[in-house]
């Protein structure tokens, strides 16, 4: 079940990505509507993070393309905000919460310019939205997992984007924080922003997402929640990898070079 959209906000066309010669995404092809809270679901190793990274141009696809707002990524970068996985950075880096949130303003600021009062005010504003104003001066090494996650979301808000891509923003977050963040995301979509979230918990996914993408190396489904959440598609997503696909991956891996590269 893959529902395509006319005039999509995001269009992914036949995207194939491989890491060190192992294909991790096969011919992903879907399009997404504007102003929705969208969840990417799938088991561990399904390629969820890779999909987000490919959209952000952080991994080189071996085939296919991505169009955002009907344009190439580089033309619309400052309309897109990216939240990496919390574990991908070293939280012992000597920086304060405010320093990290200010990084959200760097994109508009450009190279070599220092952030000023305007940027600082914006950062404080975003900290307030995630309820972290009291922590502004705190060192990031002193934060709990949930607080780190909120700092990352505040940084994303400071980018003032139209499309938000978030990689596992709920990993290691307690229930109260999860609810608060989801409410914030819902408010954002009400203002017409689009939020795409990689998520692991199928239960809360059912409650909050309006549109769901199901992934298991290949695209299983993409569509409104009511159309795609059924037993058959869930089994295809979570019921192990396709046997034949694993075998093909193995053949490709054993070559001395990457045969999928154009």
């Amino acid at each position: 079940m893959i529902k395509q959209i006319e005039n999509p906000l995001l269009e992914i066309h036949d995207l194939t990505v491989s890491y060190d010669q192992s294909p991790v995404l096969w011919n992903i092809d879907f399009s997404l509507p504007e102003g929705k809270l969208i969840g990417i679901l799938g088991p561990n190793g399904a390629g969820k993070s890779t999909l987000i990274k490919a959209i952000m141009g952080l991994v080189e696809p071996t085939g296919g393309y991505v169009k955002i707002f009907n344009k190439d990524l580089d033309q619309v970068r400052n309309r897109i905000s990216y939240v990496p996985q919390r574990e991908s950075v070293d939280w012992n880096f000597p920086a304060s919460v405010l320093d990290v949130v200010m990084m959200g303003t760097y994109g508009r600021l450009g190279l070599f310019k220092r952030p000023g009062k305007k940027e600082k005010d914006l950062a404080f504003n975003c900290l307030e939205k995630v309820g972290m104003t009291a922590f502004a001066k705190r060192q990031i090494s002193e934060l709990s997992g949930g607080q780190q996650q909120r700092v990352f979301i505040a940084r994303a808000l400071a980018q003032e984007a139209d499309l938000y891509l978030m990689d596992e923003p709920f990993a290691g977050v307690d229930m109260a924080t999860e609810t608060a963040i989801f409410q914030l995301l819902q408010e954002m979509t009400k203002e017409g922003k689009t939020v795409i979230v990689v998520h692991h918990d199928i239960h809360s996914a059912m409650t909050y997402f309006e549109w769901i993408i199901m992934l298991n190396l290949h695209l299983v489904a993409s569509g409104p929640k009511s159309d795609v959440v059924n037993e058959d598609l869930l089994r295809k997503t979570y019921g192990g990898k396709l046997n034949l696909l694993s075998k093909v991956t193995e053949i490709i891996r054993q070559q001395e070079f990457n045969p999928l590269k154009n």
Binding site: P94, S96, G107, R114
Partner: protein, 430 residues
């Protein structure tokens, strides 16, 4: 003493000049080194510093004399070659980074030593100074050389200050930088160039073998004292300058004494002091706070024992009875008793030690936390009543009033713990 006054009064303008040079050199290398230390790339600095030796020798061979421009140029070229080779090997082979660095470092350094030996055989009278590049000699620096090294140091300091935000992004979250469209590969390239330059500025004063220490140790030592980047950079610069001047002074006092080793020795002393005495992260501070904590827990245990005695209907316990409860901790128990007596939490009434009013409140609080935690483990984590005691014995000292309120709320203000013992409240009579 005379030497000391002569050196530090800077009446000799050449000494003042050298000290100034060492100061900006130290700040520059500590500045770059701190970023590379935060980036967990400390070894790269070592690789670069060893790899500049063949370049220095080739520069000398080409110029036929100790010309600073040829030597610095050669050093930059061979340092760049080593850096480029390291990253090329990393992306094109499956070798681990540390084996690549070890290989590149020893290959370049070995080649450098071969060239140095060849130069020595030529019998060129100029070559006497070339040995200085191994371990450094700050006093031997000519004014002309100082302009080159000082100028490069200023370039490093200025570039880093200008690109502070870009380099922080590079170290903290490179992917995010790429996502917002920053040319992260270019920023990495600029940073690597600054790394090479920061090695090159030290080749004459500190020497290639030990230059890596001046890059990395100041930042590593300063990290013990602060969690703020600005303070970290200032402290690292200060450490580098102190040890740089110390090394120079010793080279001045003892003729033919190389500067590099003394810089490293004084840097290591600063690092050791930081490691031992820095507040919060220093080993002494942590030892003392652990001891304080252990003393407090023992006092809590004494209060708890007295509380349990009152639960059994006794008024108090004698000193010997209390000591008997902790047979291996006689000294701690005596210490706890006298501390608690001094703080009026205990009363000594004709040899019988009893809880005072404030002692009772505190004892009740500890017992309450212990039993609340036991109840929580039992009810919410399905742990059998006979398995909950050990955990509660540790957590009773840690649970904050907020957590206590939360526990009470979750457990609906229980009266009894899993062992059917009373959970004491402040206004309970005992």
């Amino acid at each position: 003493m005379e030497d000391f006054l002569y050196f530090f009064s800077f009446q000799d303008s050449s000494i003042a000049f050298i000290v100034l040079g060492i100061t900006i050199l130290g700040i520059g290398s500590a500045y770059v080194g701190t970023f590379s230390f935060l980036d967990n790339k400390a070894l790269l600095g070592d690789a670069i510093s060893h790899s500049v030796l063949p370049g220095i020798c080739l520069g000398f061979l080409l110029a036929g004399e100790k010309n600073p421009y040829y030597i610095v140029g050669g050093a930059i070229i061979s340092g760049s070659a080593a850096t480029f080779l390291t990253s090329w090997l990393k992306s094109n082979t499956k070798l681990s980074e540390d084996s690549i660095i070890a290989t590149v470092l020893s290959t370049f350094f070995g080649f450098g030593i071969v060239l140095l030996t060849i130069i020595q055989k030529t019998g060129n009278p100029e070559m006497a100074g070339l040995n200085q590049f191994i371990f450094g000699n700050a006093i031997g620096i000519l004014e002309e050389d100082l302009w080159v090294y000082g100028g490069l140091s200023l370039i490093i300091i200025l570039s880093l200050s200008l690109m502070m935000k870009e380099f922080s992004l590079l170290v903290f979250n490179q992917e995010f930088g790429r996502a917002i469209g920053y040319p992260m590969d270019f920023i990495r390239l600029v940073f690597n160039i600054l790394m090479i330059l920061s090695v090159v500025i030290g080749i004459q004063a500190i020497g290639v073998v030990l230059m890596a220490a001046l890059l990395i140790t100041p930042g590593a030592a300063a990290r013990f004292w602060t969690d703020r980047l600005s303070t970290l950079l200032i402290l690292a610069g200060l450490f580098a300058v102190i040890s740089g001047i110390t090394g120079t002074y010793i080279s001045f006092v003892i003729p033919k004494m190389p500067t590099g080793p003394w810089v490293v020795v004084s840097l290591s002393a600063l690092a050791l002091i930081s490691f031992l005495f820095a507040p919060k992260k220093g080993i002494l501070f942590r030892y003392i706070s652990r001891r304080k904590y252990l003393r407090k827990t023992h006092r809590d245990h004494v209060l708890k024992s007295l509380f349990k005695a009152t639960e059994e209907g006794k008024k108090g316990l004698s000193k010997d009875e209390l000591l008997g409860l902790y047979p291996h901790h006689k000294k701690e128990t005596l210490g706890s008793i006298s501390y608690l007596l001094r703080n009026n939490q205990l009363n000594n009434i004709q040899g019988l030690i009893e809880l005072s009013e404030s002692g009772k409140t505190e004892a009740k609080r500890i017992v309450r936390l212990h039993r609340l935690w036991e109840s929580y483990l039992n009810e919410y984590m399905n742990i059998a009543p006979d398995h909950v005691h050990d955990s509660a014995e540790k957590l009773e000292h840690l649970i904050t009033p907020e957590l206590e309120a939360l526990l009470d709320n979750r457990l609906k203000y229980p009266k009894l713990d899993p062992h059917q013992e009373n959970i004491p409240r402040d206004n309970d009579n005992i």
